[in-house]
Amino acid sequence: MTILSSKLRQSTAAAVLALTAIAFAGDALAKDLTITVWAGGSGDNDVYRLDAIEMAADILSREWAVRGDELNITVQKKRDFAGWPEFKQAVTLAAESGSAPNIVVTSHTDIAPWSQAGLIVPVEDYVDLDAWPLNNIYDNLLEMTSYNGVVYGLPQDAEARPFFFWKDTMKKIGYTDEEIEALPTKVELGEYTLQNVLEDAKKAVDMEIVEKGYGFYPRVSNGPDYAQFYQSFGGELMDKETGKLVLDKKAMTEFYQFFVDAVEAGVTRKNHIGTEWDQWYAEVASGKAAIWHGGTWHYARYTGKEGLDDFFGNIQFSLIPAGNEEGHPNTITHPLAYLLTAQKDEEAVEIAAQLIKIASEPRINTLHAIKSSHLGITREQSNIELYANDRWASEATARLLPFASSQPNNLNYGRFSEIMFKGLETAWTGTKSPADAVAEVEVEMKALLGNDLIVR
């Protein structure tokens, strides 16, 4: 028992030493602490990812004061990263050089590599998941922030990625109001597929209701959205049995072919990838595109910055339609998570853990959910007026969330998705045929993922 228990005792001694001050101090205690929080992929609507930590710090200090102790937390917030790549680069390099922020708000898919590298610590070591408010968080979200059966992070928000239809354009190509109302159900039942999307988009272009290239107007950069189309054609990201990533060549080829067909039919631009986001948002929110896809948070952008007053009068939304018989209509939820980084100062980690716990209070999380049009993380949010009375939150939750899946927490998923997207880009821009692009994807994936890949 020597080594194991000495290992345990060692870490215990360090932790106990660090924490004795907090837990057992008889005298009043004063503590000054700076907690840094970095959030990736966050715009003006997402300020509560950071502000929630500030609110939590206020509450925690008050709790200490009530107990007779003094806690002064300075929260340093940062979210002005150029994009996800720059954010992840910054966090990784800062952590490697020992100056990681205490809390990061990032994709749940970062948990696998960062936990293996020892950059983050399991949140379950610091908080009681069976106590309020964490026992109110949806179990499936907590599963997404776990890796190897260990809960590493707390879900910060949830979302889904719907298909959007501009109602006016749909009417002009021959849909009645009733048919538009019934569209989400038809998508859900698999009666309206991606082939129908191409047909309708082509009608809209041919009838000159929208410009060429604006019939189907997809996301302009890499993102979980594209994995949805892979699933629409029957692709599976991870094999549940073995935990390995799956390259389904047939599904991948058909998924690429769909975008090539869209370009050939003139409904999607060949050079669409790389379009500026600002331009893209302005165009879809003003009806310049017939059919497109996005995320639940787009609601905030369309109705806010882009000035679309009547969202429900102008836009219909549904799941991502199935692509063929093997596939199924789906949507991906890509929750961001609060993660705790490994720090020399054990006490700072403990306090950071308290902060993200408090920030998960339904009332505080609701501020973020509604302000940024994300979905809630706790069951109790449906009893909070701000959330319950928000039409978008309730309808999107009901229509999309039951069918939402997530991307796998796998060490190599980042590489997998990168190669998948590059392959799509080469096919889409006509550099290679879909079959050749998939052949290259296969070679690259086999080389880079090795044993962690199943090819079908």
Binding site: I3, L4, S5, K7, L8, R9, S11, T12, A15, V16, L19, A23, P85, E86, K88, T92, S107, T109, P113, Q116, A117, G118, L119, D125, Y126, V127, D128, D130, N148, V150, S221, N222, T242, G243, R269, N271, I273, G274, T275, E276, Q279, E350, L411, N412, G414, R415, F416, S417, E418, K422, E425, T426, T429, G430, T431, E440, V443, E444, A447, N451
Partner: protein, 434 residues
């Protein structure tokens, strides 16, 4: 050693230091990194030995007995004497007594079950973290513990009563290791990946085309301004230097405004009935034209300055004499000016080749290698691999191997150029002192 030599060395010292710090050290580090499997998943500072669910799944595939793997997968918490005495030492006798009374001899599957029981005890630590640490004192399994060394891992495995033979120990240690290891796989990977070949091809296209544009245009500008009156010539040169002195971000931003589908070019061509398009990213040919021009204009200014000053050094009497002989401008350029520009042209070509091979800043800012990797040059490929991609899967080792190949090509090219320049001749001792 003579004092003069020491003095010379003294003068050289700063340069040597800078070469050492900013060239040799990074190159050596890159070389070292390139023989490792470092990535964002392994970390840089070294790994730990940790048996996780993933390890358990992988073990049987590597020939480890399934039953032993299943044993390792158990997460056992046992309330025994050793644990109780640890508990009393760290958390006080009263709590230890309560645990002994309520739970002695019990075995729990996972910490959660034990903590749930502990929460019912009145003397328990009130902080969640403390409570979990106290529960960990009873952990009698190794699942998800990060051990600093292989020896510690294996000793703990035998502590919990699992005996492994030598080969099983090796498999377990290798599978559970989370850090990086020494390897030559990066070079094998590079030689097997289509994207690497494409990057190499792209680099060749990029260097050749950009070089032709920048040298050709530089020469043209130098010749054109040579025959202009001084004032006008200076003004023209100043304008052509703008691309070089503008901050790259702003320079590229202006190109984007020019080429966007809502930009100047599209709006202008709309008058002639041409549908707006993104002239930079419409196809790989568009992207190449933009990249070659963006870089070519920057390069042209350097050529222009060097060639202009070299032309000034041509004795005016030669030009006057040629005019007396009835030579026209074309003959002047062909027979007098160009032959005397041989060395500046060669120098600029050599210098620009070397800087182009390693540069990717303007490409990164404009197309970022798109569309579909068609303009991703080797240096940008290395940057994307090692430091910058959407998924955050940073592969430091592979990226370093890619970068090192650039260094080797760069040094090779430098040696080649030194040879054709006949460097010794260029720096030959002045005859006057002989």
């Amino acid at each position: 050693m003579r004092r003069a030599h020491l003095l010379g060395l003294g003068f050289m010292a700063p340069a040597l230091l800078i070469t050492g710090l900013f060239f040799l050290a990074p190159v050596i580090l890159t070389a070292v990194f390139s023989f490792t499997s470092m990535s964002s998943g392994t970390g840089i500072s070294g790994g730990a030995y940790s048996v996780s669910e993933q390890t358990i799944r992988e073990l049987p595939e590597r020939g480890f007995p399934q039953e032993t793997a299943d044993l390792l997968a158990k997460d056992v918490y046992r309330i025994d004497e050793a644990g109780l005495s640890d508990l009393s030492a760290n958390f006080g006798e009263p709590f230890s007594k309560q645990v002994r009374k309520a739970l002695s001899g019990k075995v729990f599957d996972g910490r959660k079950a034990l903590v749930t029981e502990m929460k019912k005890l009145r003397e328990r630590p009130r902080s969640v973290r403390q409570l979990k640490i106290s529960a960990d004192l009873f952990k009698r399994s190794i699942l998800n513990i990060r051990f600093d060394s292989k020896a510690a891992l294996l000793a703990s495995v035998s502590d919990i009563g699992i005996s492994l033979d030598a080969s099983q120990q090796t498999i377990l240690a290798e599978t559970s290791y989370t850090g990086w290891s020494w390897t030559t796989d990066n070079y094998k990977l590079i030689s097997s990946m289509p994207s690497a070949f494409r990057a190499a091809g792209n680099t060749f296209i990029y260097v050749t085309l950009t070089l032709s544009v920048s040298i050709g245009l530089g020469l043209l500008l130098a010749l054109a301004t040579f025959y202009l009156p001084k004032g006008q010539a200076a003004a023209f040169r100043a304008i052509w230097i703008l691309p070089r002195i503008l901050p790259p971000v702003i320079y590229v931003m202006m190109w984007k405004w020019l080429t966007w589908d809502t930009g100047f070019l599209s709006n202008f061509l709309l008058n002639f009935g041409i549908t707006p398009r993104n002239w930079m990213l419409h196809s790989d040919i568009n992207a190449w034209v933009c990249i070659v021009l963006i870089n070519g204009f920057v390069g042209a200014s350097l050529g222009m300055i060097l060639f202009s000053s070299a032309m000034r050094a041509i004795p005016a009497s030669m030009l006057h004499a040629s005019e007396v002989d009835g030579a026209n401008r074309r003959q002047q350029i062909w027979h007098i000016i160009l032959p005397q520009l041989r060395w500046p042209i060669l120098f600029t070509t050599a210098y620009s080749t070397l800087s182009l091979i390693a540069s990717f800043d303007y490409i990164y800012l404009s197309t970022d290698g798109g569309p579909g990797r068609s303009t991703e040059v080797w240096a940008l490929y290395a940057f994307h691999t090692a430091l910058n991609n959407y998924g955050g899967a940073l592969q430091y080792g592979l990226g370093a191997a890619l970068a090192l190949m650039l260094v080797i090509i760069g040094i090779g090219a430098s040696l080649f150029y030194l040879r054709i320049f006949n460097f010794n001749e260029l720096v030959a001792k002045p005859r006057i002192e002989q």
